[in-house]
Symmetry: C2
Subunit: 507 residues, 2 copies
Amino acid sequence: MAGGEQKKSGGGGKKKEVKKETGLGLSFTKDENFGEWYSEVVVNGEMIEYYDISGCYILRPWAISIWENMQTFFDAEIKKMKVKNCYFPLFVSPGVLQKEKDHIEGFAPEVAWVTKSGESELEVPIAIRPTSETVMYPYYSKWIRGHRDLPLKLNQWCNVVRWEFSNPTPFIRSREFLWQEGHTAFATKEEADTEVLQILELYRRIYEEFLAIPVTKGRKSELEKFAGGLYTTSVEAFIPNTGRGIQGATSHCLGQNFAKMFEINFENEKGEKAMVWQNSWAYSTRTIGVMVMVHGDDKGLVLPPKVAALQVIVIPVPYKDADTQGIFDACAATVATLSDAGICAEADLRDNYSPGWKYSNWEMKGVPLRIEIGPRDLANNQVRAVRRDNGAKTDISRASLVEQVKEMLDKIQQNLFDVAKQKRDACVEVVKTWEEFVTALGQKKLILAPWCDEEEVEKDVKARTKGEMGAAKSLCTPFEQPELPEGTKCFASGKPAKKWTYWGRSY
Amino acid sequence: MAGGEQKKSGGGGKKKEVKKETGLGLSFTKDENFGEWYSEVVVNGEMIEYYDISGCYILRPWAISIWENMQTFFDAEIKKMKVKNCYFPLFVSPGVLQKEKDHIEGFAPEVAWVTKSGESELEVPIAIRPTSETVMYPYYSKWIRGHRDLPLKLNQWCNVVRWEFSNPTPFIRSREFLWQEGHTAFATKEEADTEVLQILELYRRIYEEFLAIPVTKGRKSELEKFAGGLYTTSVEAFIPNTGRGIQGATSHCLGQNFAKMFEINFENEKGEKAMVWQNSWAYSTRTIGVMVMVHGDDKGLVLPPKVAALQVIVIPVPYKDADTQGIFDACAATVATLSDAGICAEADLRDNYSPGWKYSNWEMKGVPLRIEIGPRDLANNQVRAVRRDNGAKTDISRASLVEQVKEMLDKIQQNLFDVAKQKRDACVEVVKTWEEFVTALGQKKLILAPWCDEEEVEKDVKARTKGEMGAAKSLCTPFEQPELPEGTKCFASGKPAKKWTYWGRSY
C-alpha cells in the first residue's frame, strides 16, 4: 500500500531523502521483523517510552488520549446499565488473597509483595492486586443482605500489577497496566448470564467500532478460562503477521465459587438463604497494542479516526515566492472550521521543518487525514486531503470542507476495519485432521477445528506443539458455529467432535 | 440548625422514633465528638468502607461520583491550558528515587518497597511512587532538547502510596490515595510563576465553587514547602470544630533544583544551553474529606449540589387510603421532568421502608434536596421540597418545577458556602504577641500573626507548642495581606515582622 502511494504521488523519492536527512522513518519493516517494528513504532509514534524498570512502560499522551476516548464510551455505556464506579485499595492482605484456591494458583507466581516501608519491615507482607476479586468480595458479603441489595454492580478504573517474566511487550504484556474491572452480583444465574453477554457486546464494539479491529466472540475452554470462575467469554483478535491470536477482553461468569468462599449470601424473596451469582469483566490498555499491531504499517502508526487524539493535521506548503501569510491564514481558518464542527484538527506551522518532514512525522504518528495547503490550493480556494490509510489524495473545495472531511473520516474508519477483516479472514483455515492442523499452524493460520472439548486433549495438543514459538492452544469456541455434521471427529483425539473451536498460538 | 428544623416540622419526635427502630442516625455529634462523628458519617453515608489493611479505605460510589464531578471540571480546564494526560509507572528504582536529596529526605520514611514477586526475591527492591517527580524527570531530560520542546505540560490521574503511621483518617490521611499530579517545564521562571497561580486558581474554584468551602490562597513557609522545591503555594481550608487548618491542594514552583539533578537542559533561542524551570501541582481525594468535615451535621453528610451524584431524591408519602398509584406516577413524572432538565434526580419507591425512614436515610447521605409527594400534593398539583442544608420546606407547583428546583439548588450551593465562610471567619483571630497566640491556639482559632519569616523562629514555635494536640505551625502567608504598620514586631521572636501569616494546628 505504502509503496503504491509513493509511486503514484511521485514524491516518494523526495520523501525518502527527507527521512535520511532527519532520521525519521522506521529501521524495520512490519513484514520482515515484526517484533522490532512494533517496538520502534510505539516509541517513534510517541505512544510509549521505555522505562528503567523492565516490563514497565510510560504511556505518553498520544496513547492515553486513545485510552480516554474508549473510556468515555465504555463508562457511559456501563452507567446506562446502572453500574457504579468505585475504588478499592491497591493492597491485599495475604489471607484474603489466598481464599479462593484455584484463583490464587492462577495468580500467585506473578504477585508483587510489599515487605518494607521506609526502613521498617512490615509485620505481614502485603500483596499488590493482580485483579480485585479477593479485594472486593469480602465487602460484597458485608453489603449484600437481602434480595433488595441485588444486583450489586460495581466497576473501577485502576492499575494492576502482574510481575511476569516472559517477554514483556508494550501494551500487550506489561507488569503494570491500566484497565477497568467490573464486579457484579445477581440473585439468579440467568441475570448473570445475560450481563456477561451485554458486556461482551460492549467489548466487541470497542474493538470493531472504535479500534476498527474484527474480533470473534466466543467461550474459552476449561483450561483457558479465568482461574476460579465458572466460564469465560472473550473477544479474540488475530495478528496476521505473527499468526497469533490475542485475547482482546474477557467477560467472566464466576458462578457461585467466590460466593461460597467469601460467604456472599442473601435472603431471597421467599425468605430463604441463597447464594449470589457473580460476574467479573475487564479490558485493558492491551487494546491499544492490538490496534498498533493490526493497523500500523512501514510508515508508522495508523490511528482509526474514532479514537485518534488528532484526526486532521493541517500543513502549509509555502513554495518560495508564495503568499506565506495567506497560506498560514488559510491553515488557521481550516483548523477553526473543522474544530467548530467537532473534528479534532491542528495545524503544524513550525518554521524549522520542511513540509516533507512534517508529512513523515504525522504519518509516523498515524493521524488519519492530512490536509495540505499550498499556493495553488489558496488560488483555487481548496485544500488537498491525503488519507493515512491508503494514501489517496483528494482536492476539497473549502466550501464543502466539513462535510467532505467527515465523510472521509468515516470512510477511513470503515476501510481500516474492512482491510483488517479481509486480512484476518484470509488467515482462517478450517482443518479436520492433526496433519492439517500442524501444517496450518506452521503457516501461521487462525485454525478452526472440530473438537471433542476435553481438557486432557487440549493439554495433549499443547504438549505436542511445544517449541520455540510457543505451544498452540484453543483460542475460543465461537458463538457463531458452522454446521457440525454428525460423525465429525475431533482433529486431535479422533473422538466425536462437539464443537468448532479456534486454535493457534497466542499472545 | 437541625434542632430548629425538627421543632418547626413537628415531625422530629416521630423521626427520632424511626431512627431508634431502624438503627439509622449517628451515635456521635459533630460538636461533642468530632473524630468519631467523622468516622461514622463517612461510613453511614456510604462514602467509605473500612478495609482490613490499616490506612487503606474503600471509596464507594457515593464518594467516587463526587471525585468524578470534580475531575470532569479540572480535566477540561487543564486541557484548555494545553496540559496533556499521560501515565507513568507505579514503580521507581531506588537510584532514581534518591537523586534529589531534599526531596527523598521528605518522602523516604513513608516509601513502600516491593522486594518479592511470587516466591522470588527481587534483585533490587523497587519503590512505589509517593509522588512522581523522580519517576518522570529523567524522561523530561530526554524529551526536552530545544526551546521548541517547551513548555512541556503533563498531568496524570493516578494512585500514590505514602505509608504513614500517624492517625490514618479516611480521605484526609490514607496510605494510598487518588490524585492528579501535574508536572510542567518552561523556558523561563516567569512562565512557571504564572502557571503556579493559574493552577492555584483552579484549586480555589474546586473548593469554593464546587465544594462550597472557603479557602485562603497563599504561600507556604520555607519549613512547610515541598521537599526539593523552590516555593509552594496552596489553598488552605479550616475546620472550625477541631480548630485545625488543612492544606487543600498545592501548586509548587520547583525552580531549577530538579532540572539540575536530572539534567533537564535545552538550547534556547540564542543557541545557548539553559536549564528549564519546573512546576508540579496536585489535589487529591482529601478534598472530599474536607467537604464532609465542613458541611456535615448531626444528621449525616451534606453534599453541595454541584458535586452531588444525586441532587434531588423524590419520596412518595402514601398515607393510607391514598391514591398510591397516582402518587407513584407523580414521583416518576417528577424524576423524568427533572432528569430531562439535566438535574440528577431519583425516586425512592421501595415498599419496605416508611417515608420517615427514607427521609433519614437520604439526609444521612446528604442529598441536597428532598421532594415529597403525598395525597394533598397530588390534589394541588404540587410537590413539597425540603432543603438538606437548612431544613426549609417549600411547596412548589408542578408547572414551575424545573425552574424552582434549579433556583433552590443554586441557593443551597451558595448558602453552604456562605455559612461555611461565616463560621471560618468567626474563627480568625489576629494576634500580636506570644501570649495572645497561645490563648488563641487554646481556643482553636485560625491565627493571623505578624511574622519575621525566619525558619528558626517557626521551628521554635513548633517546639514551644508541642503537646498532645500536636504543635502549631505556619499554615500560609496569604496573598491578600492586611496592612503591616512599620515597626510591627514578630509575634514569636519580637524581631521586625515582614508579613502576616496564618498559624494554627493542622491536619
